[in-house]
Symmetry: C2
Subunit: 343 residues, 2 copies
């Protein structure tokens, strides 16, 4: 059995949807147990309505239990202050349960900053790792995906941090996406090794000397092609990259929609165009790939988007369960030791 | 008269197109003189064919002259080495003419790195400025434009550099885009002042204390909305932002095209869609706004995209002429002095 703690009160979606996501996950995979973390009184009514789950197998029902947490850290809360003041929040309660090994992984669609800070304080970091990294999957034009990290956990990084992001990202990509020898790229503003900042030049040198299948610098436009599997950046550049992608996508679809609608011939074309936009959203939707792993912590922690609904919660649980089964953490630890990077 | 030196041999487009762009510019504005910089023998044949210019006003013809430069710095050349080895290149010849005040501005669609390095060596920097910045216009969804700088001249910046980018960007926006009191935003990964790196936090503090209409941090997605007029970033983040925009735009239009074409109903819709894509490209096309200014140099220097054709050359010349007429350089110098930032 793989026991996944799921924070069902920190997200922005309806709690019903989140619980349905938990149910979907235990239905999908026999070895998953979900510990739903939240206010007991919010959750209990649903457990009594079996019909709510569209499901009548009481054996499966036993694989969902509740861990009571009475407080919510909101998206607006200041992380440090919230952790001090809300000891009974689902994020603190969940991470403490993970630390006590009552759950094998923790998944939350809550305040990213609060989860990163709480995980650092409660669970601590993997041996040898100073800065954690959030790794997100970006679909590429070849129909595959690339992994970009860090996308916002660590705004300021040194060479050692970036080298460890490369190693953690590689193990994650190998174990979770089944690619035997993932290619590492370094996000920079030119392909030549002398490009970019001193930090990037030095990181380029270090990665080139290591056995990590380093293919060199990649540029912002290469994120969407099948060049590197894992793309390493500091949290500032990585997070900005995601936000620019989002803004560009919104802007382009807005301009195209307007332009198509303003064409007098376009009435017939609008449904086709909307269909295409829908497909685009599916491809770009991070929910398809479950939560985003917070790598470098002494635990299996996945963070979902605040708006995560039923599908995203299910995918997040499945991803967390896979990480546990593949001993992601053990693999990362062993690889860092092999490369003498734990001290 | 405003005398603009135009490098007509470093770009990738046909020389005919570049010369047509020069002709278009002097036709459009009476006070512009163009000094075309390049191999005399390439240019002279066109001067003899009056019909080539679609234009029969010999008075205007006198406003185009040639400055001979026999060598070309290619896009692949290493900037420093090229400057040492190609003393007769159009970039070196043009910048030296600018330094001797034989031309009031220099515009080149050549190797950006080489132009930045050559300008630093030949012309030097504006008093008080240590790092130059390339500033590019980004159209926003409100139908206006924002200015993003630096987009690649200075990968590594300190607080003083970013503060000066803000001031130079503001003067540029005011003089060139006619906005009386442009709003400054700092590109960061969150709106709160404590977000981002130490560099960004300190820059936020400095800009907040200055009389520069600073509206605080803006995020990658805010580049496309009417929030800040001038968005300040170091060259690493700024250049990566441009490349991510480019990659996202290509990916989205590719996915949408494919999706529309694969729809059996879509035959009628394809021309409409292609029309919309064409409009999109026009809006996003940096050529519409002329060359990109290299701010912080002791001269008026504009850089065009390597593929700049007739329209881009014309627009670049018009932009450079406007910068000269508005005494961009003098305005920047005076403002830096007023703020005691010249020492």
């Amino acid at each position: 059995m793989v026991k996944i703690g799921v924070d069902i009160i920190s997200g922005e979606s309806d709690i019903k949807d989140l619980i349905k996501g938990c149910v979907d996950a235990v239905k999908e995979e026999d070895d998953i147990e979900v510990v739903a973390i939240g206010k007991k009184e919010l959750f209990s009514p649903f457990l009594k309505q079996k019909s709510f789950f569209w499901w009548d197998n009481s054996k499966n029902m036993n694989r969902i239990s509740i861990l009571d947490a009475s407080e919510v850290i909101t998206m607006e809360d200041n992380p440090l202050r919230a952790l001090k003041e809300k000891k009974n929040s689902s994020i603190v309660v969940g991470l403490e349960a993970h630390k006590r090994m009552e759950i094998d992984a923790f998944f939350s669609p809550g305040n990213t900053g609060a989860i990163v800070v709480a995980a650092s304080i409660i669970m601590g970091r993997t041996k040898g790792v100073k800065k954690p990294a959030l790794a997100t999957v970006v679909p590429n034009r070849a129909g595959k995906v690339n992994l970009l990290l860090d996308v916002g956990a660590s705004a300021e990084c040194d060479v050692n941090d970036l080298v460890k992001f490369a190693i953690m990202g590689r193990i994650y990509f190998r174990e979770m996406l089944g690619v035997r020898n993932p290619k590492i790229g370094l996000l920079n503003i030119g392909s030549e090794s002398h490009k970019g900042s001193a930090l990037l030049r030095e990181t380029h040198k270090r990665l080139s000397a290591m056995d990590v299948n380093f293919i060199g610098n990649v540029e912002g436009r290469d994120i969407f092609i099948d060049k590197a599997d894992v793309i390493v950046a500091d949290g500032l550049n990585g997070n900005n990259t995601l936000k620019v992608m989002e803004g560009t996508a919104q802007t382009i679809t807005a301009i195209l929609s307007q332009s198509i609608k303003s064409d007098p011939m376009a009435t017939i074309a609008i449904p086709l165009y909307q269909n295409a936009i829908k497909k685009l959203k599916e491809i770009l939707d991070p929910e398809t790939y479950g939560g985003v792993p917070l790598l470098g912590m002494n635990g299996n922690i996945f963070i979902g988007h605040g708006t995560s609904g039923r599908k995203a919660i299910k995918q997040g649980i499945l991803a967390a369960a896979k990480a546990v089964r593949h001993d992601l953490l053990g693999n990362i630890n062993r690889r860092l030791e092999e490369l003498h990077l734990v001290s």
